[in-house]
Each structure stands twice: as C-alpha cells, then as structure tokens.
Symmetry: C2
Subunit: 187 residues, 2 copies
DNA sequence: GTCTATAGAGTGATAGAC
DNA sequence: GTCTATCACTCTATAGAC
C-alpha cells in the first residue's frame, strides 16, 4: 500500500485552494477529496470538526500569514518601507488578481455568519495597520483612515472585477493607482 | 384553500433575494421554497431548467434593470445629470451597502463559469457607459476609462467591506469619495 | 506490540429534478 | 410527493513508524 504522509499544514493549504475556487458551500467533501487527493480519513483526522473546522483553520492560517507578512510590519517597521512592501506582498499574494480573497468571498453570503469575527478582524486590522503607518509617516488621523480604507476597498473591488471581467491587468493597474494616491498624500 | 397567484416576474424577485443571501450553491431548493413560500411545483413551472435557469433569469433581470435605469441614461442622456443619477441609483439599489451585488458575488467562485458572459457583459457595459458619459462631459478617453474603472472597482470593494465589517457607513462614504473624484476631474 | 495516518465502504439525511 | 444522486460524516481496517 502506497502511503503519502501529509502534515496538517499541507492539508490546510490544499483544502484552502478548493474553498477559494468553489466557495464554502460549493466545496463538497467529495470535491475536496478529489482535488486534494486526501482521503476522507485523512481529512477527518486533521479536522474532526469537518468542513466548518477546515474553513476556520484555513481562515486563521490566512489571517496569521497576513499578520506576519503585512500587518505587523505596518505596525512596527519604518512606515514608508512597510507600505512599499505591502503593495508587493498584495500583488504577489493575490497573484496579480488571478487569486481571490477567500475572506472577502466568505463575507458576501451566509458563510459570513459562521466566521464573522475572523472576517471582521482581518479587514479591521488591515485598515488600522495601514492607517497607523500613514500617521507615523506624517498624515493626520482622519486622512490616514480615509486613505487606508480606500486602499483596502480598492484591492477588494479590483479582485472582484479581475475575475468578473477575466482581465489580468486591472488588479495591477488598481494597485498602481492606489499606491500613487498614498504617495502623493505623503509628499 | 388560500391561493396566492404569482407571476414569473414576482418569482424572479423572490428567488433573487435568496440567491443574494445564500449564494448559488448555498441556496438549496428547500431553502428557496421555504423562504419564498413558492412550492417546488411553482418553481419548476416557472423555471423548467431548475436552479441554473433561475439564476440565469435573475441575472438577466438584474442586467436589464441596470440597462434601463443606469447604462442607457449614461449612454444617451445629458452626461452630468446621468452621472449624478447613477450615484443615487447605486446607493438606493444596494441599500447603502446592506445589499450585495449578486453578479459580483457570482464572479468570485466557480459559479462564474456558468454565467461568465452575463457577468462580464454587466461590468463591461457599466464601465463603458460611465466612461462614455465622462468623455461626452469633456474628459480625454484614457482619463475617462480610468475614472470609470475606479468607480466600479470602488463600488464593488465597498460592498465587500460593508458586509465584512458589518459597517453601514462605508458604502456611503465610498460613493461620496468617488463622486467627488469624478467631479474634480470634470471641473 | 502501540500509535498515528490513511483508505474508502458505508451511514442516514438531504440535495435537485421531475 | 417521489425519485436517485450526492451530501457531510462515521467507522473499520490497516499501513508504516516507533
């Protein structure tokens, strides 16, 4: 018998891509087993709570990644450098718009009610961390908050339109516009 | 026996709200019958093609509404007045951000593959109609296109964040910002 | 031997179609 | 309401690591 041994963290990444492509309700266990090549035994071993636990762990995993790679740098590092890295991180994480934001997608339907704390926390911290960096870089609080909100709104909207239009250029174009908006406010 | 007689157009509106709340995969036939009070018999009478036909007709219906109320006015009426009305129509249609964009939500998961033509056409026509009005109002084509895209991106992003954050103010704030951006470009 | 990870048939419930 | 397919999930068996 051939055995492939996975770590739980591998399973989280594989299952995450299925949820990202199919949505929470659209990702059936049989599609998850088919696409990940993980058996039900493995999946229920890693996630005894089933689909809901899978999604919760995936979201926690995404949130933790953003905290490490983006939010904490914005909160703690030199603000202008951290903001510059934020744009790069955003473009590479979302693969120039070809990959959607799972947390944003879950926010749109009733899936939100299962995970509302994580969803709200993720977007709230992103906006607050960016606004904080803008304040440290010299902006007034009200302007910083407005620009941070505008940036996160723009990123989410561009992800929706990139997929809706099948347009590989709109995400990069939007990031460039948002980046310039912040830079001109900081001059 | 009490009978409520529905027209197909009534059924479309009722079922649309269920899809909007639950998503395509999340909206099971039993939830649709429970929430609309329409029997399975009525639903299959109106939509012999089942769920997929329901969703297709709902999207066509939404698209037609936007063509009449927003896209054709932008294309044919006095541009500044049509743009001013677009902001009002957008705010009231999406109920100040409490109602999501069904077509945008369908774009995010594999549901998109079923309806990609309608989804693409809707957003493409919105951007083109707004850009056309901006050109008629005096802007250069490249600037008009960029601002139109920015507006539709911002509307979609604000809808996502309004639901994600449970924030009733972000949608109105975003519309005001986008409106001012267009107005200052037109001065 | 014990233990964990895996495989996948089997469960009752519920899906969408009619 | 009735149909069959598929749903999320359970459970037994067993492979390999120790």
């Amino acid at each position: 018998m051939v055995r492939s041994v996975f770590e739980k963290s591998d399973a989280i990444g594989l299952v995450a891509e299925v949820f990202r492509e199919l949505g929470y309700e659209g990702a059936s266990m049989s599609e998850i087993t088919a696409r990940t090549k993980l058996s039900k035994g493995s999946l229920y071993h890693f996630f005894p709570g089933g689909k809901e636990e899978m999604a919760a762990e995936i979201m926690a995993n995404i949130d933790a990644w953003f905290v490490t790679e983006m939010f904490r740098p914005l909160e703690e590092d030199e603000p202008r450098a951290a903001i510059a890295r934020m744009w790069e991180t955003t473009d590479s994480y979302f693969r120039s718009g070809r990959r959607i934001c799972l947390i944003g997608a879950f926010a749109l339907d009733e899936t939100r009610d299962r995970f509302s704390g994580t969803i709200r926390g993720y977007f709230h911290r992103w906006i607050e961390a960016l606004a904080g960096a803008l304040i440290k870089a010299g902006l007034r609080g009200s302007e910083a908050k407005a620009l941070a909100e505008e940036a996160v709104v723009g990123i989410q909207g561009a992800l929706t339109l990139a997929r809706a239009l099948g347009d590989d250029t709109i995400f990069g174009r939007t990031l460039t516009r948002l980046k310039r908006g912040l830079e001109s406010a900081l001059e």
